[in-house]
């Protein structure tokens, strides 16, 4: 089947995906305002697994679809267009590619089938309380003790750790090394003795993130991925392709359509002032789409993305925020309501405004992205 899909022309492939998504994706899960927990999204996870579409980028030999980059983008676009929610997908987009590239045959045999079966739900242990955007200064330590590592420390902003039964973890294994050296990649079951998970209620009053504490957690060394002390490079390589998602114009497009609904409901749609501001937002989004397309083309050609992809994240997240700012401006006193207006999920200015807040902080804050642009793209001095 995978070979067939790659051989389809793009438009046929797109139509195939669209039809199947419309027929199979649960209506009530479209465009959810908050990240879904496993209890809600597993239906869709298993449906994808059954269809064989769970892992578009994995080679067919490992149970993936083996889609080329162009087709993967079409699949993603069609999912986005229909408002398909993210699943607990860290196993799919992070652990799978990691093991396929750097793991041993034994690790691949142990873990990949369980991701495909929805048996292992993974979360990502990167950030730490004192190393938010400064990953290289992480301090969670792993000390060698016979066949085990003994892990101590704390991770934070661990997305959906409260759903996961496994965590992939960056730990410091050589405290004497330079910052970005001495970091190692470990795979750890969440039910290991000494792990505690504490959900963090975020500003959206939702428990999407957690803290994860490690108190003398023993991890068998066979769950080390790749070379000891070389975890930093592996982690960096994994991030490459993902960054383009943060710059997808889809989120702003969705918000813009909600802004329009709100303006129509509030009676401001026809006002020249509003029309002017709306047009500016719409043109900004279209220009973002054009820029995004140039990066998608790079991926489609199979080339590596440069650091200038940081631009997309900055533009997309700040546009998203501008759109929700505008919602707040026109909503009048409704801007203060906790719940959607009139029970209509599409008319929820305060909720959408709050949901837009973290976007400029996570995934490398926009300050960090601008640092990257200044130094790595523009070549400005340290």
């Amino acid at each position: 089947m995978t070979v067939d899909l790659n051989d389809l022309d793009d438009e046929t492939f797109r139509a195939t995906v669209r039809d199947w998504v419309v027929a199979n994706y649960p209506e009530e899960l479209r465009n959810p305002p908050k990240r879904l927990h496993w209890r809600d999204n597993k239906v869709w996870y298993f449906k994808l697994a059954e269809k064989g579409w769970l892992c578009p980028g994995w080679p067919a030999e490992h149970g993936g679809m083996g889609l080329n980059a162009g087709k993967q983008i079409i699949l993603l676009e069609e999912f986005e267009r229909y408002g398909v929610a993210r699943t607990n997908d860290h196993g799919i987009i992070m652990v799978g590619p990691l093991l396929i590239q750097y793991g041993t045959d034994a690790q691949r045999a142990e873990f990949l089938p369980k991701i495909l079966a929805g048996e292992h739900i993974w979360c990502q242990g990167y950030s730490e309380p004192n190393a938010g955007s400064d990953l290289a200064s992480l301090r969670t330590s792993a000390v060698s003790d016979g066949d085990d590592w003994v892990v101590n420390g704390q991770k934070i902003w661990t997305t959906l750790a409260n759903d996961a039964n496994w965590i992939f973890l960056l730990v410091r294994t050589d405290p004497g090394a330079k910052k970005q050296e001495g970091i190692t990649f470990l795979l750890v079951p969440m039910d290991s003795p000494g792990i505690t998970v504490r959900p963090i209620i975020n500003i959206d009053l939702h428990d999407e993130f957690c803290e994860v504490f490690f108190d003398n957690v023993r991890v068998p060394k066979r769950w080390t991925v790749g070379e000891v002390n070389k975890g930093w490079t592996m982690a960096k390589n994994l991030l490459g392709f993902e960054r383009i998602y943060l710059g997808s114009p889809k989120l702003s497009g969705y918000a813009l359509s909600r802004l329009r609904m709100l303006a129509e409901r509030m009676g401001t749609w026809e006002e020249p002032n509003f029309q002017d501001r709306f047009t500016r937002l719409r043109m900004e989004m279209d220009d973002l789409k054009a820029l995004h397309a140039t990066f998608v083309d790079i991926v489609r050609r199979g080339d590596a993305l440069g650091p200038d992809v940081s631009m997309l994240k900055v533009i997309q997240t700040e546009l998203f925020q501008k759109i929700t700012d505008e919602m707040m401006d026109i909503a009048g006193a409704n801007a203060g309501l906790l719940e959607p207006m009139e029970g209509n999920r599409n008319l929820h200015p305060s909720g959408q405004f709050i949901q837009a807040r973290p976007s400029t902080i996570y995934g490398g804050s926009n300050e960090i992205q601008r640092n990257i642009l200044a130094k790595n793209v523009l070549g400005l001095p340290g």
Binding site: G132, I203, M328, A333, L338, E339, R357
Partner: protein
Amino acid sequence: MSTAEDRSENIRLLRESAAAVIPGDYRRIRALRFQDPGFDPATWKEMCDMGWAALRVPEAKGGSGLGVAEYCALAEELGRGLVPEPFIGSVTAASLLSGGALAEVLAGDKVILPAWQERPNSLDTAGDTTVAGGRANGRKAFIPMAAGADAFIVSGRDGLALVARDAAGVSLSIERTQDGGNFGTLTLDNAACTPLSGDMAEALEEAALATGAYLLGVMDRAFAMTLDYMKTRNQFGRAIGSFQALQHRAADLKIQVALTRASVEAAAVTLDTSQHPALRQSVVSRAKARAADAAMLVTRQCIQLHGGIGYTDEADIGLFLRKAMVLSHLYGGAALHRGRFAAVAPEDDE
């Protein structure tokens, strides 16, 4: 009214006495969030004992007869503490009541709130409501902290009236607000009401300005907390407050706070000294528009400057943004007030 020096000394004392009773942390605020009635009636009664509800009531009517500058100074201090008790609503009500009802409001024995707004984006107080012949009909919405009200002052096409919450024909629905409080929607179906003399317009001008002052307190405190955070939080081996890009952003926020303070305080002086209706409206609109926009900008940026911790509900900084979200549009949002300013502001003399 006393001399300028006396007044500024009085204002200083008033601020100090408020600061003394408002806790430095936000545990009380958190405990009251998303509960009914959204504030603590006992605390409110203590505030009334300090004379706060009586601030703008003439001494002849049992109040303390203070000016708008004092009103704004106190509102600012309450904003700093995110105090949810119905201060501005009660001051507004008190200026429209007399006799026993006034006494009960001033003592904090009853909470009476103005119910004037019908549409989300309007300063019109009459709307489609009538209060003729002792019977009120209509629908009033966006009444802050209505869940704790005993009665409402309803504005209609034909004047004002007092409506008890538990009167026949009165129904009150409550929606939660982002700050943990609530908005009430009052539906009046031939409800019994007591006519009140007077006009709500002037009291609402003051309420709009006091809301601007409250927002000034909100943003000023949020900004101060953020500066503290910037001085102590380290990244890349340095306090984040030493990064020039963040320093310049902080400088811009400081400018917003300073402009808001200048605008609010100048408007208070104008309300205390000028009877020129267009001038009074224009300064209130300018101050409220500035306060609303600046409060949203400053508190939003404070979240950003806090980084990851800023988007947890555990960090207090989020409470300030949520308060700004609710108050920015009360008594008119920025766009509404800009429109009014354009319509009424006197031309410059040049």
